[in-house]
């Protein structure tokens, strides 16, 4: 296991290097002088020169990269042109609503997706299976902005059941209001993941139901319920945990759309606001942090895999 962990950790080095180079180079994609573009038309040459100096744009490219990475290792992710506080504080405060929304999304996707996937597997090729499978196809291919707008149109505008936008903190408004405001964005964000979870649960369940040990259990005279709960569920869980883990990552990265629709001050909204105000260092910092989280989550999943399934370690 230790060998597996070390090998897996070593593969991180090139990935992190490339990620950092790509994110570092982003600002150099700006046509013309990034400093001038960031400050806009009103800026004086002195201001532009000063910003060039702070951004380190006067140094050779390689040196700029080295300094940039050094600063990151020192915990300095750059400064925002418009927001006060360190970059870490800015990102942390915007990360909270995104994570809360993601948790609602995952909860929705799992609570709806897993039972439906199991039902589809048990009722294989019958009407229930076909309806559920069609539902999961719609889920997988429905873009989240359409889902979000549709939900607002139905549940807020037409029925008036749920608020159409906004974010309420737990501390100031309590859990009930907090969840009520996150319900629609969570469902919109989690809908695609729900489709994926249905698919995954169905196929891994089908595989298990056809396995020899299930036939053995049946031959032994194990009750249908026990067969399902004890033998099938346990084995299906490995696959489901993976999909849920992956869903978490993709929700974190894809929250920009639902945060815009529902006006949630999360990490996606932060990025977009920074884009509009040409606050490029914020954009770079957010992309870096989310990518690092992504790499970290994948690593944890892989290590879990190795722990659960010894065959993975041997590859």
């Amino acid at each position: 296991m230790l060998k597996y962990v070390i090998r897996r950790l070593l593969t991180l080095i090139p990935v992190l290097f490339i990620v950092s180079v790509v994110i570092f180079l982003l600002i150099h994609l700006v046509p013309g002088d990034p400093a001038a573009v960031m400050l806009g038309d009103q800026a004086t040459p002195e201001q532009i020169a000063a910003l060039r100096e702070t951004l380190g744009l006067n140094e050779p490219l390689v040196l700029q990269y080295v300094h940039w990475v050094r600063d990151i290792f020192h915990g300095d992710l750059g400064t925002s042109l418009f927001m006060s506080g360190t970059m870490w504080e800015i990102i942390r405060s915007h990360m909270i609503p995104t994570v809360q929304q993601t948790l609602v999304a995952i909860a929705f996707a799992t609570i709806v997706g897993v039972p439906l996937g199991m039902l589809a597997a048990v009722k294989r090729s019958r009407a229930a299976d076909q309806v559920i499978s069609a539902f999961s196809i719609i889920g997988v291919s429905m873009p989240s902005f359409l889902m979000g707008l549709g939900l607002v149109l139905l549940f807020s505008v037409k029925l008036g059941w749920l608020p159409s936008s906004g974010y309420k903190e737990i501390g100031a408004y309590g859990w009930g209001t907090h969840i009520r405001y996150l319900l629609l964005p969570g469902i919109a964000l989690g809908f695609i993941e729900m489709g994926l979870i249905i698919r995954m649960t169905r196929s891994s369940m089908l595989e298990i139901l056809g396995a020899d040990y299930m036939r053995m259990a049946k031959a032994k005279g194990v009750s249908r319920f026990r067969m399902f709960a004890r033998h099938a569920m346990k084995n299906a869980l490995v696959g489901i945990v993976t999909v849920v883990g992956l869903a978490f990552i993709s929700c974190l990265g894809g929250a920009a759309v639902t945060e815009t629709i529902f006006n949630i001050p999360g990490i996606g909204k932060l990025t977009l606001n920074a884009v509009m105000r040409r606050d490029y260092e914020v954009v770079q910092a957010v992309v870096l942090v989310v990518s690092l989280l992504n790499v970290l989550c994948t690593l944890v999943l892989d290590l879990l895999y190795g722990l659960i399934d010894p065959r993975v370690r041997m590859e």
Binding site: V22, L26, V30, P31, S141, F145, S164, T260, L272, S291
Partner: protein, 296 residues
């Protein structure tokens, strides 16, 4: 076919006949696959709408009629108007142009560049590590976020959307091309070619490339579908196709502002997007069943 005709036609004739039979088989599979037929009909419909937009659209998509702002569907405006009094139907039809141009360009460019990267990575071991690590790194950045960041730096334009999405989709394509090419590379006929002294270029492009084309084309069709969604999402977020030019994403974004009073601004462009997404995805599934039946 009996031995006599075989000899008569010679090897070239047999080859030609085999090729024709393959083509017929694929065509038969195509028409038997409900998905492929429905999918390609929808894609064809959208492509026609995009191509014939000036003829089909009842009005100029940019012409503003201030007195008819947010007119409900029906009457003079079949699908209503937006808050600047522009005809919604015309804007949706012209929006199909953006979707199709972006979808096809990204599908094609990711296919070409992904194939180049994948083939050379599979063929030259030394290149493999470098190219694949770059792909790993690029795919470690969540795709929506990478696309937004790229658009932020490059600036808003249809071309930059295509550029940004190509950068996002090429690594995945390269991975698929590489893994297919690795299998083909180990086949005996490639070894035979090498022992005959065929050049690397000829082996790669003349013999490996055609054999991985199916897998690559299928993935390109999914990239086509995904880039239509992502373009709409980017334009919806205000970092895609710039404002006066109609795209389904930015029509929906304007619709969001008037969602409580003008449902048609959400429902119709939403339906168009949903139809395109479903159609292109079903088209991809159908294509996979025909070209790459083992993948499923």
């Amino acid at each position: 076919m009996d031995a006599w005709t075989l000899e008569q036609r010679g090897l070239a004739g047999v080859k030609r006949r085999l090729r024709r039979e393959q083509r017929q088989l694929k065509l038969r599979r195509f028409f038997r696959s409900k998905q492929a037929v429905i999918g390609s009909l929808i894609v064809l419909l959208l492509a026609l709408a995009a191509l014939l937009a000036p003829v089909l659209a009842p009005a100029d998509p940019l012409a503003q009629t201030v007195s008819d702002r947010l007119a409900a569907p029906g009457g003079e405006y079949l699908l209503g108007t937006d808050k600047l009094g522009r005809d919604l139907l015309s804007r949706i039809i012209y929006g199909a142009r953006v979707s199709m141009i972006v979808g096809m360009s990204v599908g094609l460019s990711s296919m070409v560049f992904g194939m180049i990267v994948g083939l050379y990575a599979a063929y030259y071991k030394a290149l493999d590590n470098v190219l694949m690590r770059i792909c790993d790194g690029l795919s470690a950045i969540p795709s929506t976020l990478l696309a937004i960041a790229l658009m932020a730096m490059l600036g808003q334009s249809t071309f930059n959307v295509i550029l940004a999405l190509s950068i996002v989709y090429i690594p995945r394509m390269a991975r698929i091309a590489r893994s297919s090419a690795l299998i083909v590379k180990e086949q005996t006929y490639i070894e035979a070619l090498r022992s005959q002294g065929a050049s690397s270029f000829r082996i790669i492009w003349g013999h490996i490339a055609p054999n991985i084309l199916s897998a690559v084309v299928v993935q390109a069709s999914y990239n086509f579908a995904n880039s239509i969604i992502t373009e709409a999402a980017l334009s919806f977020l205000g970092v895609g196709v710039p404002a006066p030019q109609p795209s389904w994403g930015n029509i929906l974004s304007e619709g969001r502002e008037v969602i409580s009073s003008a449902w048609w601004m959400i429902v119709y462009p939403g339906l168009a997007t949903a139809l395109a997404v479903m159609g292109t995805n079903v088209f991809g599934d159908g294509l996979r069943d025909i070209l790459d039946p083992h993948a499923n």
